[in-house]
């Protein structure tokens, strides 16, 4: 892009730079759970898509989703997505400086609000689905 300005040399990191340090390993594990976030989002998309198409398409979707493999996948995905969410909410008070009345809200309050919102959103979704026909 800028041919005139040379960039400082950066030594390429070792491919296993994240191995051997607990914090780094946990961080990379957290980033890798993004794969399950994407997969869960795709499953949700498939759910909505087939349900809107009609009973036949939806029956095929349910048939796939009730296989034992689907149970294993969703058990793993649940752990991954919850870990993803927990690490996200832990980050929230550091990233969001919420000010009320000129004073910064304590990290504990931000975290509490985040967990409350998480619980409320989960409860609403679960109620909408589980209250049945």
């Amino acid at each position: 892009m800028n041919a005139g300005t040379p960039r400082p040399y950066r030594r390429p990191p070792h491919f296993a730079w994240w191995w051997g340090h607990r914090a780094y390993t946990l961080f990379v594990a957290r980033e890798l759970t993004s794969i399950f976030v994407a997969a869960t989002a795709l499953v949700l998309l498939g759910f909505a898509w087939t349900a809107v198409q009609g009973p036949d398409a939806y029956a095929a979707y349910v048939a796939v989703m009730t296989r034992p493999a689907a149970a294993v996948f969703h058990a793993v995905a649940l752990v991954a997505v919850v870990y993803h969410a927990l690490t996200w909410w832990t980050l929230a008070p550091r990233a969001a400086a919420v000010r009320v009345d000129g004073r910064r809200l304590s990290p504990r309050a931000v975290l509490g609000g985040a967990y409350a919102a998480w619980a409320a959103a989960s409860a609403v979704v679960a109620w909408l689905v589980l209250r049945g026909p």
């Binding site: 993004s34 949700l44 998309l45 759910f47 909505a48 809107v52 939806y58």
Partner: protein, 158 residues
Amino acid sequence: MVPVPTRGHVRPPDADEVARSTEPLWWLLFAAGGTVAALVLPVHALLHLALALGLPGDAFAHAHVARLLAHPLARVYVTVVVGLAFLAWTDLALGAGGASWGQVLSRRLTWLPLAMAVLAVANLVVARRVLRMNPRRSAITAVAMGVLSAPWPVLVLP
């Protein structure tokens, strides 16, 4: 003449460069995606685990599910959750040693071919007024952000 690089010294960006950077917009998408994913994806995974284990009875019957999704808000919800959950990957691109917006764009655009006018206009306003980018850059950013968020409604809403 090529200037000689100073060893061990990186010039910090001045205020003007920071103001013209497109990075805040990408971080905004990342933050929105991460928050939406953290809020609702765990309960969706849990419900699907319950479905796989045969627990929820007739909660997943087509009549009930179709009625839920008949509501426009439910469709907007699915669109937003799926779209933003994918955009949360933005941070992987951002984290890769200060990738330029061009690099970020090239990693995203394979997925998303159409522009969404409303978001593009909103981003144009944000880029011009809040981030004070020059017109050309704000136009590019607005189109880029619009394109990013586009085809999910088309997929979900028949």
